[in-house]
């Protein structure tokens, strides 16, 4: 088969540039195979993350001809016969070396989310929930943490609002907890005040790049935004709460802690 031209970004935090490689492509190959072939023959220290090579671990996320993709699931034959293939690290996160970037910010966001808090078990010592009730939660739990949605999200990518918005991956992480029938916690105040749910303006770029085809925006982010609106702005919900005497929790755990552990409902 023919030789193809690759432009691969080489460098580190101090700077770098694209380097051109010509390499033979064999039938059935994916971009990650080509990177490995270049690594073995031409640039033994070319850095790239990878692991499972089957689209299940989300390690080999890069930007190929400008699109965030998994290198292991991008077949060479999707490109035109003379097309140059340009590979660069995810733009949103700081580069470490070549195609490897520092995604530790994402791990920090995950830590900010209060973990699952189980309701008490039934009398027989078992938890009961039904398949219909967990289908949606299981959709979110298909996430392989490739962070393609994080890198494409324009709030994080172009506007650098990483202090204000946790990003689509962690919006569906929260959604997966909030919609879990066994979870006994409430993260709606945090969604608004800490996780920045209002920042997302539903451009659906995250959903488009998701290799697991999770309905990030429609099934995850929008329902979470609705819960925030109901809790904070819906007059009907507010009146119902007054009439039934059930207070609306609008404070975050951090605010409660600052107030000496008291929940200040319905401010």
């Amino acid at each position: 088969m023919a030789k193809r031209t690759f432009r691969i970004w080489r460098g580190d935090v101090k700077g770098g540039d694209f380097e051109e490689f010509q390499e033979e492509v064999s039938e059935g190959m994916v971009v990650l195979d080509m990177i490995h072939r270049i690594q073995a023959k031409q640039a033994t220290d070319l850095a790239v993350r990878w692991n499972c090579k089957a689209g299940k671990c989300g390690s080999c996320s890069v930007e190929i001809n400008g699109k965030p993709r998994l290198a292991c699931m991008t077949r060479m034959n999707i490109f035109g016969p003379d097309e140059t293939i340009t590979v660069q690290p995810l733009k949103t996160f700081p580069v470490i070396k070549d195609l490897v970037c520092d995604v530790s910010w994402n791990y920090k966001q995950n830590r900010r989310i209060r973990p699952f808090k189980p309701k008490p078990k039934g009398e027989d010592g078992q938890h009961r929930m039904y398949q219909d009730d967990v289908d949606r939660v299981q959709e979110f739990r298909k996430c392989i943490e490739c962070y393609l949605c994080q890198t494409v999200c324009h709030i994080l990518r172009d506007r650098d609002k990483q202090d204000e918005f946790i990003g689509p991956r962690f919006m569906i992480r929260v959604a997966g907890l909030e919609m879990n029938p066994l979870d006994d916690d409430d993260r709606v105040p945090e969604l608004k005040k800490e996780y920045g749910s209002g920042m997302c303006n539903i451009t659906r770029c995250c959903t488009e790049v998701c290799p697991e085809h999770i309905g990030i925006t429609d099934n995850g982010i929008i329902p979470m935004k609705e819960r925030v609106v109901d809790r904070f702005y819906d007059p009907v919900v507010w009146i119902t709460s007054k009439l039934t005497g059930k207070p609306l929790k609008r404070t975050t755990k951090a605010e409660d802690d600052a107030a000496g552990g008291k929940t200040r409902d319905d401010r």
């Binding site: 994916v30 077949r75 298909k142």
Partner: protein
């Protein structure tokens, strides 16, 4: 080099590896009040646990209430051809249900029964539906549940950090030297207890379901530190991995394809499995196409088709067809479900297989056959540990998960690996906690040892010239695939031993180019050292075991030999750096367990046997 200037962390326990076993061990250590560190070669959540599909075996009895630990134990022993460590198989069967329920407390969302309980599915070798699962992505659910729980337990995670060597104070463990992949800088972890949870060494073979990470680091670290390996001749080849395209060579094709009616054919279109039915399975296997077709149509009187024989039988048969020149164009055989089932059935029952072949091979499995061949999948053997504490022969050194030995004997049942991780991960954590409680004074690290470990790694970068690590990795994979395959002979294994000896001279001169910062060439050169040592151990153990049992098949010694059931092959590093390979007699089977494992299933279920166990 001034060792005192190296970055240093102090932990009570350092866990090496962040797959299911490592994470479960770390959670336990933390729960026991220990200052716990975890290092992992990859990012958190990327370990190979993520690739597991089918489920985790635990006798919950949610789907069939007749299931209990005794039946699970009996299945495991039979699957392992009775070479399993009895006590480990007992602990595993007894504790797996509690470990699975605990995952639910930590946020795992399993598929449900219609009563709202954790659902369980059927699998090879398990008498009842026993595998808790989430579609065909159970491993992802396991690792994510442990990860999302673990990050809130005060555990220190050190990601993309590779262990280079273990430090000792006299006989005891004192810590670990590693390096950060990101910067190439070295780091010392002072820790009186170290838990190895590093997985297997599948990367020594060309066609494998394992990724670059599975280079046998834990096994090599253990040998260097004075611990022993056991049963490493038992390497599981899964019969059906993808063989084409190159990007996915070795990736698993689930047994479910055959369970749902898929058949194996050679290039002449011959349904060859009928030629390979062994005598001991003949009574339960259809011997004509006509009968196998009736089974597919649901005739309960028809016997199962030969495509559903055990993994070792099917893998051997496929290999024989390929060797006889009747293979498919890319060196496999054909697995055909397209001509057997309607398209919508296939898409509904095998969604991830449909997706996998469609995206990666451009094969529509509802229209064309798949090309498949055996793929190195799993190490039954590994580091020899005490069944109760998971401690190795070296005080303070523990092992769990795939890198540990004992639970699976000569062959592992599907579904028993994920439950292995959580059962023995927890027990290793408990073992480490008990060890530290009774330890006395803390060990100290030795600057000379640290320097020598670091020099071993920097030499690979600093030498003037030498062999290309990728080329040597290629040679090793060629060699192991050729000489230590599914079907082995003494002659080939001896050739393997000799060739490995030659290769080791080249590996001693490997040269990595470039700087130490995130340098895959250097990482490969380092991984090669472990892989080579483990390859030598596997090859020599396979040469010593002169019988065929479970996953170890010797053409020159067909069939199980009763005499060999009395022994494990145990490997140590001798003072001169070479490997000592020895037959070690197994302790006698506990009478109560032996009775259960050998009982007729009716007697076990009626309570005639094992009532008081």
């Amino acid at each position: 080099m001034d060792v005192s200037e190296l970055q240093t962390f102090e932990h009570d326990v350092l866990v090496i590896g962040a797959g299911g076993a490592g994470l479960r061990a770390a959670i336990q250590c933390s729960a026991r009040g220990l200052n716990t560190g975890v290092i992992s070669k990859s990012l958190l959540g990327k370990a190979h646990t993520v690739m597991a599909e089918g489920g985790m075996a635990a006798a919950l009895g949610n789907v069939d209430s007749r299931d209990n630990w005794k039946v699970h134990f009996r299945d495991t022993m039979r699957g392992g051809k009775f070479l399993n460590v009895w006590r480990m198989a007992e602990l595993h069967a007894k504790q797996a249900p509690a470990r699975v329920r605990e995952l639910e407390e930590w946020g795992a969302v399993f598929d449900r029964t219609k009563d709202g309980l954790i659902s369980q599915r059927n699998f090879g070798g398990h008498r009842y539906p026993r595998l808790a699962h989430v579609g065909d992505r159970t491993g992802l659910e396991l690792i994510r549940s442990l990860q999302d729980h673990g990050i809130h337990q005060g555990i220190h995670f050190h990601m993309e950090c590779t262990a280079l060597g273990l430090l000792k104070d006299g006989d005891r463990i004192a810590g670990v030297v590693g390096y950060w992949r990101e910067t190439g800088r070295f780091v010392v972890f002072k820790a009186p207890a170290v838990i190895l949870a590093t997985g297997g060494a599948g990367k020594a073979w060309r066609v494998t379901s394992n990724s670059w990470e599975y280079s046998g680091d834990g096994l090599a670290l253990a040998l260097h530190a004075g611990a022993e390996l056991m049963d490493v001749e038992f390497t599981q080849f899964h019969p059906t991995g993808m063989v084409w395209p190159p990007s996915v060579r070795g990736t698993l094709v689930t047994e479910g394809v055959r369970g749902d009616g898929g058949i194996l054919k050679n290039k002449d279109g011959d349904r060859f499995m009928f030629k390979y039915i062994p005598a001991k399975f003949a009574a339960e296997t259809a011997d004509t196409v006509e009968e196998a077709e009736r089974w597919l149509e649901g005739d309960k009187k028809a016997r199962r088709p030969p495509e559903l024989l055990t993994r070792d039988e099917v893998a051997r048969s496929i290999t024989a067809e390929i060797k006889a020149g009747r293979g498919s164009p890319h060196g496999g055989v054909f697995l055909d479900i397209a001509s057997r089932r309607p398209a919508d059935f296939i898409k509904r029952k095998l969604p991830s297989m449909y997706h996998q072949f469609k995206e990666l091979a451009e094969v529509d499995i509802t229209k064309e056959p798949m090309e498949v061949g055996p793929t190195l999948h799993y190490f039954m053997g590994g580091i020899r540990v005490d069944a109760e504490s998971q401690m190795t022969k070296v005080p303070g050194l523990f092992a769990c998960g795939e890198c540990g030995a004992g639970l699976h004997g000569a062959n592992r049942l599907g579904g028993n690996s994920l439950s292995d991780l959580i059962v023995f991960g927890k027990l290793a954590g408990d073992g480490a906690a008990e060890y530290i409680k009774g330890m006395g004074n803390s060990p100290t690290t030795d600057a000379g040892q640290i320097e020598s470990i670091i020099r071993g790694a920097t030499d690979l970068l600093n030498r003037e010239s030498g062999e290309n690590p990728y080329v040597l990795m290629d040679e090793l994979q060629d060699l192991m695939s050729r000489c230590v395959g599914i079907v082995r002979t003494g002659e080939e294994l001896q050739e393997g031993v000799d060739e490995l000896e030659k290769l080791s001279k080249k590996v001693a001169k490997v040269k990595a180019h470039g700087a130490s910062q995130y340098n895959p060439g250097w990482h490969t050169a380092i991984d090669l050292q472990s892989l080579l040592m483990v390859s030598q151990a596997v090859t020599r153990a396979a040469l010593m075991r002169e019988e065929s049992r479970g996953a170890h098949t010797r053409n020159d010694f067909p069939g199980e030999r009763d005499e060999w059931l009395k022994y494990n092959v145990v490997i140590r590093k001798a003072a001169d750096g070479t490997l000592d390979v020895e037959k070690v007699e197994r302790p006698p089977a506990p009478a109560n367990l032996s009775e259960i494992a050998n009982a007729k299933i009716e007697d076990l279920e009626s309570g005639k046997v094992g009532k008081d166990a």
